[in-house]
């Protein structure tokens, strides 16, 4: 491995569409001067040495957690590198949901507990909406990092007075903005609104992007979201939190 190139590690724990994530990151990396290596791995020492970590996830919360824990010392490694070490982290779909305290899909299961909140079933059927929330939806940016405002004030309509999270740089947001591809039946209900970076609407507000410090989670699939997704992944590769 080339020491001068950043190593982006996609954690392989038997879940998800690793190839799509890898290909999309490789495409996004093409625009960088110093192109990073995109590595898919389940080996503890490789994950430990990563410059950036991506945790994908498709399937049920408990299955993903179980798969993740099958990697030796993974919780300690992630705590050491991401929570304490400040390594930029991106969780995708269930990979994002695993950042919660716990998930309530097929029983109650503990998550990583990085961002306060619970993963619950989407309630939209009373509005005649289908579950899963499947397809393309727009993102509303919120006043990230500010928990002193109410939900209604939280959605930004006038973008001029606010700059969004660095991962949303150069991405047109809002009702008339670009779309992200979602496919999920459960969603992350965060305790503190300051952790919501962007939301979407499906029978109510759904956390589309959450984060704090060096960690971000997206409920949608950037690897399947064409322009929006590739821009977001490029922003992640450039991000210096």
């Amino acid at each position: 491995m080339d020491k001068n190139r950043e190593k982006i590690v996609i954690i392989d724990y038997g879940s998800g569409n690793l190839r799509s994530a890898q290909k999309a990151l490789a495409r996004a990396a093409k625009n960088l001067d110093n192109r990073p290596e995109i590595i898919v791995s389940s080996r503890a020492e490789i994950i430990f040495a990563a410059d950036r970590i991506v945790l994908p996830g498709v399937g049920a919360f408990a299955d993903c957690k179980k798969g993740l824990l099958a990697i030796s010392n993974i919780e300690q490694i992630l705590t050491e590198r991401v929570v304490r070490g400040g390594v930029p982290f991106l969780g995708i779909c269930v990979g994002m949901q695993l950042m919660a305290d716990y998930g309530k899909e097929k029983g109650k299961h503990a998550g990583l507990g990085w961002i306060r909140g619970i993963v619950k079933k989407i309630k939209a059927e009373h509005k005649g909406l289908k579950i899963p929330h499947m397809g393309w939806n727009t993102l509303n940016i919120t006043k990230f990092g500010n928990d002193k405002i109410s939900k209604s004030e939280n959605i930004i309509n006038n973008k001029s007075d606010f700059s969004p999270h660095p991962l949303l740089n150069n991405i047109k947001l809002g009702e008339d903005g670009l779309h992200a591809y979602f496919v999920h039946s459960y969603h992350f209900v965060v305790n503190e609104r300051k952790n919501i970076i962007a939301s979407t609407d499906y029978g109510g507000e759904i956390a589309a992007m959450i984060g704090k410090n060096n960690m971000v989670g997206v409920q949608f699939h950037p690897e399947k979201s064409q322009i929006l997704g590739l821009n977001l992944l490029e922003n992640f590769l450039r991000w210096r939190p």
Partner: protein
């Protein structure tokens, strides 16, 4: 509601070649499914569907290569159907870059397969193909093997049961309308869409843009699938989307 209605072009693939052909300008090889996929990706398709109709076992293996190559170039959701019979088949397709698999015959033969598949890979990745023919007023029967084999199974009962077992989406195809250009079987689509709480894709019979609108407005479908009107360049994806939007349907116009 901000969630958009999806347009899904469907490519019939046999031994790694698009069978009906794709009549796009600028395609060097219209029979290459990867080139067709790239063209649809650029055109703003919301998802893409590959239907593997290879007759032979060897032919089936080539779909993995097609899916891999497509995943390399296209960053939109991909559903692959045709000949999916085991959990191993599903895993292999997902590892190649498919996001969802469409299951037909295997679900009819052994309904429990859907429970196992959904448990293992999540409901969101299991699409059940409901291929049905009308037998009398408000009654449809399930067919398998590309509409050749009748099963005696009631389509509505089957659809509801599949969702109960874990199907995350239903691809409802009218075998009466498929290839006719007469429009979707609206009654069939609506009957199933209203009876289940998962998204329904209407399929079979699109010949005009009005048909797409009808599928959503009258058939209550969440997505519409079409093949020949797009493949032969009769309408572009952009024209279809604009037409649907002008008729009051929320569409994604990002490209």
């Amino acid at each position: 509601m901000a969630l958009k209605t999806r347009i899904i072009p469907c490519l019939d693939v046999k031994d790694a070649r698009v069978v009906k052909g794709v009549n796009f300008v600028n395609l060097v090889d219209a029979g290459d499914p990867v080139e067709a996929a790239i063209a649809y990706d650029k055109a703003g398709a919301d998802e893409l569907c590959f239907l593997d109709i290879s007759a032979s076992f060897e032919g089936r293996d080539t779909i993995f290569d097609v899916v891999s190559k497509t995943a390399e170039h296209c960053f939109m959701p991909l559903t692959v159907g045709g000949g999916v019979r085991s959990l191993k088949d599903i895993r292999k397709l997902l590892l190649c870059g498919a996001d969802k698999v469409a299951i037909n015959s295997a679900a009819v033969k052994n309904r429990d397969f859907i429970n196992r598949a959904a448990d293992k890979f999540g409901n969101q990745c299991i699409v059940v193909s409901v291929d049905a023919r009308k037998i009398k007023e408000n009654k449809w029967e399930i067919y398998t093997h590309g509409g050749r084999n009748k099963t005696g199974i009631d389509a509505l009962e089957f659809a509801i049961d599949m969702v109960k077992r874990g199907a995350g989406e239903l691809l409802v195809t009218s075998m009466d309308r498929d290839g006719t250009k007469l429009g979707f079987d609206i009654e069939l689509t609506k009957t199933i869409a209203d009876a289940v709480n998962v998204p329904v894709i209407a399929s079979g019979g699109v010949g005009k843009l009005e048909h797409l609108v009808e599928g959503v407005k009258k058939g209550h479908a969440n997505a519409v699938l079409a093949a020949s009107i797009f493949h032969f360049g009769i309408f572009s994806i952009a024209q279809a989307k604009k037409y649907m939007r002008d008729n009051g349907i929320n569409m994604r116009l990002d490209y």
